[in-house]
Symmetry: C2
Amino acid sequence: MSDHMSIKDIARVAGVSRSTVSRVVNNEAHVNKHTRARVLEVIERLNYTPNQAARALVTQRSQVVGVVLPGTANVFFADNSYFPMLLQGIVEAGNNHEQSMLLCLGNVDEPREHFSQRILRNRMCDGFIIASIENDDPLIDHLVQSVPYFVMMERPQRYEDRISHVTVDNVQGGQLATQHLISLGYQRIAHITGHLNIADGQDRLTGYLKALELAGIPYNADLVSYGRFSFLAGYEGMKALLSQHPDAVFVSSDTAARGAIQAIQDAGLRVPEDIGIVGFDDLDVATKTTPHLTTIRQPVQQKGAVAVQLLLDLVGGHKHSPQHMVLPTQLVIRQSCGANLRERTLAKEVQLQSEVPIT
Amino acid sequence: MSDHMSIKDIARVAGVSRSTVSRVVNNEAHVNKHTRARVLEVIERLNYTPNQAARALVTQRSQVVGVVLPGTANVFFADNSYFPMLLQGIVEAGNNHEQSMLLCLGNVDEPREHFSQRILRNRMCDGFIIASIENDDPLIDHLVQSVPYFVMMERPQRYEDRISHVTVDNVQGGQLATQHLISLGYQRIAHITGHLNIADGQDRLTGYLKALELAGIPYNADLVSYGRFSFLAGYEGMKALLSQHPDAVFVSSDTAARGAIQAIQDAGLRVPEDIGIVGFDDLDVATKTTPHLTTIRQPVQQKGAVAVQLLLDLVGGHKHSPQHMVLPTQLVIRQSCGANLRERTLAKEVQLQSEVPIT
DNA sequence: TTGCATTTTGGGAACGTTCTCAGTTATACT
DNA sequence: AGTATAACTGAGAACGTTCCCAAAATGCAA
């Protein structure tokens, strides 16, 4: 077992030169049909696969994409299907492009600077996809300074003119969510924010504020609770908001919305009768809550796939940084917003926003 | 930015040979103190990092470990913290050994054979860690046949004498769980199995049967429901079992136990008053259920870390396949088994099994 | 000072590819 | 048949390291 063939062995056995074998392996033109067949037969028979390191050395491309999640696996993956979906989108697109995925996760309690160094020192990857990084993370500076190709999965708030990113229109999403609640006649609409040190959270808040302003509803600071996208943040944020008696809440993620619903129900209140809820993401969790979540759908897997494609385009020189790709969001109406209880108003709204309801 | 220095550049600037720079970089002996300092200074100043591909080419080691999860990210990571924890253990150990982690996941609906080929073709990894693979997966055959170094995270049921693995004593765990229920005086103890095509599931069932036999309790096939570790399997398995009126259930994973509890509560029954439950894993979910789960703790992160260490030992030639590492399990008593309602019996049991109760 | 051992250094080959370029053979057209 | 062109093939250099071995420098004892 093992101990590998080299291109030389194949060449010798097939009675051709290394060059020809190389051409066959890389599926290049200008190889005689019969020669090609013979070489392929030998490759098959001797079970040859090219040595990636040698290949990488001369081509300067490793066919490896680094996926950076600046934290631990349990934080990113447990109790949260956003990152699994994103990762699946990335991995699948990578597979389709013959790329391998190097997963860069943090150790528990690893200092940011140390994490950065670890990523940077790794010269194995052609480029990086960076997800969920905070605006002030030093990794961003280092990447800008010394990594030629990388794509962020959120809008960066520094170096915006130099960093490529793929994201959705979070401002629009936040606005859609809030406008929907407004159109249903809610008066005291609260917001549980996401992580404000990440553009996704910041922008959804901006969308919320924009919707209020457009509707002429004065901003009430007491109705905004600062969270971090998580279940716990949703739960505690909602608990804190209860004293302000909101009649509806736009929550920055479905997971947090689940927490909020829990808090509402623990307080003996009902969703949506007492408090209407709109979430964000439209992941599986949205239909596992009771009631099902009205939410803003974002194409998470697609974001990952687009990021891979973009990164490869950058690496291949087909595109140049900065590229900013913004995918659309969509309002999905289910039960948690109480639209079914307030149908009269809704009818008007549907026309305005052209949202697509889902089972 | 970018466009990299080579060892030659460093050598030239520092006024030494490539060999010396190499020695400094690899922290080898036989370099003069002052020379070393000078070289290090230049490396620092020019921000040099060695080219991994070149290094890999000559050393025949890439410092990359492949982590294989034969399925999609959402299946492995969503709604389940076992794999995130395992991954964290692996990644963290990898980080500590200067290894990078290549994550090999399946595409949606990808045929097994296709997946295998994709893994095999990748000549980038020094070795693989394979988790949650089914016994009859063709990947196992291919690995045995042509991959020199790999470690499975479950006991393989084929090629047992050739494959190294790291796991816990699942038979003992299943037995502990069942014996605990027996010792609490339960009469009709059911079992919702895990995936029987994976040794973990098979062995936990074996442990269940062994405990029954040792206690002289006749085996009742109607009390065994076949699941796959998942929430849904737990829910549906329990629903099906209800007609058999079990008074206790050993469920093959905490996630499935959560499903089982849900099913019991949906049927208007109480845990543990009407049905006692023992789970398996002791992950965070165990203390997020109501009531908290009595369960069998297995050191998931440690399993991952041990697997990495073992793999590196195999690759480095310090150990030879097959190595079988079996870590211990431990009964953790909380509320779901009803021990608190049946204290008299418990007192006796604690001495027998020396389990460690947890907050 | 000499000689010998030890530490330190450098040169060259090797790792397994790709890629450029030149050379050879086949094809097509007059 | 002769020539221009296209298709095909091979030789050699290069990619950036490590590693072996020999050479040089140094230290130490006689």
